[in-house]
Amino acid sequence: MSRQIRIAVLVPALGLFGFLLAWALVGLPHFGDYRGPYGYVLDRVVLPERHMTNVVTAVVFDYRGFDTMGEEFILFAAVVGVVLLLRQGGREEPDRLNDSVGSDGVRIGGTLAVGACVLVSLWLISYGFVTPGGGFQGGAALASSVLLVFLVSSHKAWSGVASDRVLDPFEGVGAGGYVVIGLGALIGGLPFLTNVLGPGSVGTLFSGGSAAFVNWSAGMEVAAANLVLFTEFIDEYVVPLAKGDAAG
């Protein structure tokens, strides 16, 4: 089927699709007129029951924590899949790649920045139940902070930090930790992933109960998974460069 025929069939179909979608969208409650009970109920009960001021994180890790577990494993499976797909038999160590950043200003400023970013990421994870943040956001930020190492120094420094031997256990412990915490509640006779520690005090690091642990395990898993992804794609880029360097 040639492109022309494909587009000729697509355009009217897409037009009809768009029309039907618009017809459905027009039937939605007006923008700003959210009526459903789910959001209102949660907005009212989360603070008194669980002493968490960030309702979104409470929903993600407590009320709908099981969804989050599935989502975490989606990330886990995708990263395993990428490693599977980007495997190349006998990949050489790109040791001879000479790509250290030259400018001192970038190296020094960058190294300081890495430290600051890591701290901010850890803060994002830990205070997720109080202010905007949480395991996923903080984990992604943590992975990006570590990626800075690659950008401000060299591939060698990066592979020292983001090596398989370090990251895979982190990923496994993060993903598995989530499940184990849930199972812990199950073994204790409560439903899976019940928040077992007390609610703690509002607005402090100790709000959140045991959901704080799943928060951390999610953060760990997300950071490790993202770093594995970065490593895989960076190596795809770097290995040909190293071969070029070695040759010429």
Partner: protein, 579 residues
């Protein structure tokens, strides 16, 4: 007893995570042992849940968040017999696939095992869940694991093509489901299936609900490879490793049909109950067309696994026909079809996988023919009971033309299998290129035994006394929206049903006749296709087949175009008929 419910989902996932945590420090046998232990434990608990679900409805509210005056604030697993049976099948097939993979898959075994366990957990989660967004999460998880496993042979362009087509089409389908979920959430403010259904029951249907249903159904049907969303399956299942194809054909494709059934009978049954024939008939027709297209395309394939892939398309179409009849017998027929087809096709995929180890032998021919016959479904063999129940349901609804078409489609697929069996395993054609390279190693008796086990179980599915009655009772409960909502939202326990007999289900004479007829047609067609020279064959088949083959271009852009066309047309039809 509700503590058992999360386990078939959680244990395989935990096994995968443990494998990741133990990486680089442990030998292969430990990884394999952890994975097998996790899946075997999941199977044991799934069987427990199945037995328990026959007499009571079990619920598990995650995090202990029970509903507050009819508003569900947490995620629930609400298990009925069909869902539990699906989970048992998923775990059992995964276990056999893992056992087959131990010698069969020699590279990247740790990553492979992790993805297969995750796939198993996702399928169980989908079947057990009572929350719409939770179902979406498991759908995506099964998808992601599937895409990576399809592309396992990264050196082969065909494997990459299959993986890309699989990934893009199913991801688009997933987005449609998500838009549908968003629309329903805006309308009802709930994500729990029972609650959405209850909220919609009290109101008139509207364009929003019609299109939400279209999007969610089309999204699930992309996974189920129903025409016109089916093109990717021929590409993907032809190239995935054989044990992975077992899981795909046995369980993953069926997720789509199960999902459509689940959302219809808990959510959309309420607003469209009076117009349900329009919905059912649309599904019915899509199913029949899919079955015929699948059977026809299978007949002309040379590549063995691609042939099997198209027979999967054919049988999934028949399952959708059963579902589209919307009656208990129809749903029960779809369920029996799922069971019989999944096990038998799985066995055939494993038998085809044997060809990668060595030349076809006589006993593999016997294996292949037994599997083919159970997929044709002569009286009381293989998928016969599924066919018979669907026949009864169609006749009860006055749709007498469904019977011959469904049997014809099954006969076409069966003829394809018989033909391929004769050509490959009996060596009736020299230099037949079955598309499977001999590049693997393994103890053939062991691999053959696993394949034989599946084929043997597939043969006797219709003969198991008492199974059909229990499946029919399960279908009754699957369809009972009001009862489901009562149990999930208000905890009202279900009434104990009468004790079910353990006997063979009788079937109508028409079904017996059709069963024998299908076998005869399949054998005759296969004989014609094997012996006659190419030109004669082409004259007969080409007018029908040539346009279908032209449409199967292999280009992902075309496939997504058909997804849009199919969704738009179905949406248009339902918009006109359901208002």
């Amino acid at each position: 007893m509700s503590w058992v419910l999360p386990l078939p989902v959680v244990l395989p996932l935990l096994g995968a995570a443990l494998n990741a945590a133990l990486d680089h420090v442990t030998p292969r046998w430990l990884h394999v042992a952890v994975t097998l232990a996790a899946v075997a434990a999941a199977l044991a608990f799934a069987i427990l849940i199945l037995i328990y679900s026959m007499s009571t409805e079990t619920l598990h509210w995650f995090g202990g968040w029970h509903p507050r005056s009819g508003v569900a604030i947490g995620v629930v697993f609400a298990v009925d017999p069909l869902g539990a049976g699906f989970a048992v099948l998923a775990c059992a097939l995964t276990l056999l696939a893992l056992l087959y993979s131990i010698p069969y898959v020699e590279v990247e075994t740790r990553n492979y095992d992790m993805l297969v366990s995750v796939l198993c957990g996702a399928c169980c989660g989908f079947a057990l869940s009572g929350d719409l967004f939770n179902m979406f999460v498991w759908l995506e998880l099964a998808g992601v694991a599937g895409y990576a496993l399809t592309g396992f042979d990264i050196r082969r362009m065909s494997a990459l093509q299959g993986a890309v087509n699989f990934a893009v089409v199913n991801t688009v389908g997933g987005y449609f489901v998500l838009i549908g979920i968003g629309l329903l959430y805006a309308r009802t403010g709930a994500l729990n299936l029972a609650q959405i259904g209850r909220t919609l029951a009290g109101e008139k249907s509207s364009g929003l609900v019609i299109i939400a249903m279209t999007l969610i159904v089309c999204g699930f049907l992309c996974k189920a490879a129903i025409v016109p969303f089916h093109f990717w399956l021929g590409d993907a299942y032809a190239v995935a490793p054989a044990p992975v194809c077992l899981i795909f054909a046995g369980i993953v494709t069926d997720i789509g049909v199960f999902g459509v059934g689940r959302v219809w009978f808990t959510v959309f049954d309420a607003p469209f109950g009076t117009h349900q024939r329009f919905v059912g008939d649309a599904l019915l027709w899509m199913g029949i067309v899919t079955a015929l297209v699948g059977g026809t395309m299978a007949l002309v394939q040379q590549h063995l696994k691609r042939l099997l892939a198209f027979t999967v398309v054919c049988h999934i179409g028949i399952m959708l026909v059963g579902l589209g009849l919307l009656s208990s017998k129809g749903v029960a027929g779809a369920a029996m079809m799922l069971l019989g087809h999944g096990i038998a096709t799985g066995g055939l995929f494993l038998a085809a996988g044997l060809l990668a180890v060595r030349e076809p032998a006589r006993w593999t021919a016997a294996l292949w023919f037994c599997g083919a016959i159970s997929l044709i479904g002569p009286p009381y063999i293989g998928v016969y009971m599924g066919h018979a129940l669907i026949d009864d349901a169609a006749v009860e609804l006055g749709r007498h033309w469904v019977q011959p078409l469904v049997w014809l489609a099954g006969a076409l697929a069966g003829a394809a299998l018989l033909r391929a069996g004769a050509q490959v395993f009996l060596g009736l054609v020299d230099d037949y290129d079955h598309g499977i390279e001999e590049d693997r190693d393994g103890p053939v008796p062991y691999l053959g035994a696993i394949s034989a086990l599946l084929v043997a179980v597939g043969l006797v599915v219709s003969l198991i006394p008492g199974l059909t009655q229990r499946v029919m009772r399960g279908a009754d409960r699957f369809r009972d929206r009001a009862g489901y909502a009562d149990r999930v939202l208000h905890g009202i326990p279900m009434k104990e049903g009468a004790h079910l007999p353990v006997v063979l289900q009788p079937t109508s004479t028409a079904s017996l006749a059709y069963g024998c007829g299908a076998l005869a047609v399949a054998v005759a067609l296969a004989a014609f296709a094997v012996r006659r020279p190419d030109a004669a064959r082409a004259r007969v088949f080409d007018p029908v087949v040539w346009p279908l083959r032209q449409l199967q271009t292999g280009v992902v852009g075309d496939y997504v175009m058909w997804v849009v066309v199919g969704t738009a047309v179905l949406g248009g039809v339902w918009a006109l008929t359901l208002r």
